[in-house]
């Protein structure tokens, strides 16, 4: 095949997605609003105004997870409605470029969401933010897990008849391991008495391993989701 390289195809699709998001503002503002509302619900659901340790980590990570599901549900909707799937099949590029571009787009969305959601979380619930700094690598690796599994499962859900149902249904159990790892790391980092780095490196390793494996699986099988 003498088409453009996979790298330039990824850059083009990613640029297209980010431009569309910038013009329509469909996903990110909704995610930010949603996360803030979830915090309010947790404040009353748990009946707590200050959080630390495992409870704080749980509120932060579950909020990010639910906000990510919003973006994942919408990730391939434009592709289905406006013929993007046909276009990538016709274009002389590797179909995997679509997977990589969508995973990167999700990463960008999640990072922007967290630029708002983490400071708001600090403001709402935490006494001190010292645990948040070592929490950043944990959250970034969790973003990787959300992005790779999301970009793999979202086209399956989008092309099914029960779109909004299938995505979360498959993704939630699939995301249990990274949530377990990130929560276990965070529970120690966000302790009221300051961060405790017990097993920190092994949790980062487990998250990294999960990201790498799902990146490879997506790379290997994504083409089969595009055939028709």
């Amino acid at each position: 095949m003498n088409g453009p390289s996979t790298f330039s195809a990824v850059a083009t699709i990613l640029g297209k997605d980010l431009r569309v998001e910038l013009r329509t503002l469909q996903s990110i503002p909704a995610m930010v609003l949603f996360s803030t509302t979830i915090y309010v619900i947790f404040r009353f659901g748990l009946d707590r105004t200050q959080l630390d340790g495992g409870l704080a980590t749980g509120v932060l990570l579950v909020t990010i997870l639910f906000a990510a599901l919003l973006a994942i549900n919408r990730l391939f909707v434009a592709e289905r409605e406006q013929g993007g799937f046909e276009a990538i099949r016709l274009a002389p590029v590797d179909g995997t470029a679509l997977f990589l571009a969508k995973a990167l787009a999700l990463l960008v969305y999640l990072t922007i969401l967290e630029l708002f959601a983490i400071p708001v979380f600090w403001l709402f619930f935490l006494d001190s933010g010292t645990g948040l700094l070592p929490m950043l690598p944990v959250v970034l690796l969790l973003n990787g897990a959300l992005a790779t599994t999301g970009a793999l499962i979202s086209p399956i859900a989008t092309n099914s008849t029960a779109r909004d149902l299938i995505g979360p249904l498959i993704l939630l159990p699939l995301l249990v391991p990274p949530m377990v790892a990130a929560s276990a790391a965070g529970a120690k980092l966000l302790l009221a008495g300051g961060p405790d780095y017990d097993k920190y490196a092994s949790w980062l390793g487990a998250l990294g391993l999960y990201d790498a494996i799902f990146l490879l699986i997506g790379w290997a099988v994504f083409d089969f989701l595009l055939e028709d």
Partner: protein, 247 residues
């Protein structure tokens, strides 16, 4: 598979399971700590191992399906996963009974193997709604195979992470301080294990045969009555590839 071989398979399975249970109940001694209730181990552990192995086998069939495009591999992946999900229900029930008997509660969150199994079960339970939601047979097969491969890789990762998250791990039955199971318990366990493995295989073979037969039946119906085109048969909606599988 021809009916005689199916019958032989069923007889071997029944004999092995009968022999296994007879050994466990009348020959293998009671375990010192837990007594009689520990005997559920001879059912629970083989069921769990075989269910997990079935999920992995489903993943391998899924890889072959994607590589060859032959719907028979998709059907094998479906039947493997389906049988393992049914075994999974039995694992969770026997696990709950064992937990109630030895720890006094129906469910314990600090037993990593049981928790991991629940997560794996929850993931594979979504295999059915996934298949139901994709009407096109060919696409349904491909998507289901992608799912089966991702889920197959998920199984070991999940066990690793959940085990890491336990501050305290319960002693393993196979690796206790004094060197694991005594010999007679191993014999009982291995016979039961072989019996349950054969049960899995027999159920898979029965379902494959049933699917092929119903596909053949609907082909014959279509041939008999050219006007009646809806010959899919009962339950064909999520039965992968029944319409074009060679018998």
């Amino acid at each position: 598979m021809n009916p005689n071989r199916l019958r032989t398979l069923a007889i071997i399975t029944a004999a092995l399971i009968g022999a296994g249970f007879a050994l466990v109940f009348f020959w293998v001694p009671n375990e010192a700590d837990q007594g009689f209730i520990q005997k559920i181990f001879y059912l629970h552990v083989p069921l769990a191992i075989i269910a997990l192995a079935g999920f992995v086998i489903g993943g391998i069939h899924a890889i072959r399906h994607l590589r060859t495009g032959d719907p028979v591999h998709d059907m094998r992946a479906y039947v493997s996963i389906h049988t393992s999900v049914i075994f999974g229900v039995a694992v969770l029930i026997t696990g709950a009974i064992w937990a109630k008997a030895s720890w006094g509660r129906w469910w314990v969150w600090d037993e990593p193997t049981l928790v991991s199994f629940l997560i794996v079960f929850l993931l594979y339970a979504t295999y059915y709604p996934l298949r139901y939601a994709i009407p096109d047979r060919e696409r349904q097969g491909r998507y289901a195979s992608v799912f089966a491969i991702a889920a197959g890789a998920f199984v070991p990762l999940n066990f690793m992470v959940v085990r890491m998250a336990q501050s305290l791990v319960h002693p393993r039955t196979f690796a206790t301080a004094d060197g694991g199971l005594p010999g007679d318990m191993w014999v009982g366990f291995l016979v039961c294990f072989a019996g349950i493995a054969m049960l899995w295989l027999t159920l898979v073979c029965f379902e494959m045969t049933a699917k092929r037969t119903s596909a053949q039946l609907s082909r014959l119906r279509r041939a008999l009555d050219g006007t009646a085109r809806a010959g899919g048969g009962v339950g064909a909606r999520i039965a992968p590839g029944t319409a074009n599988v060679p018998s």
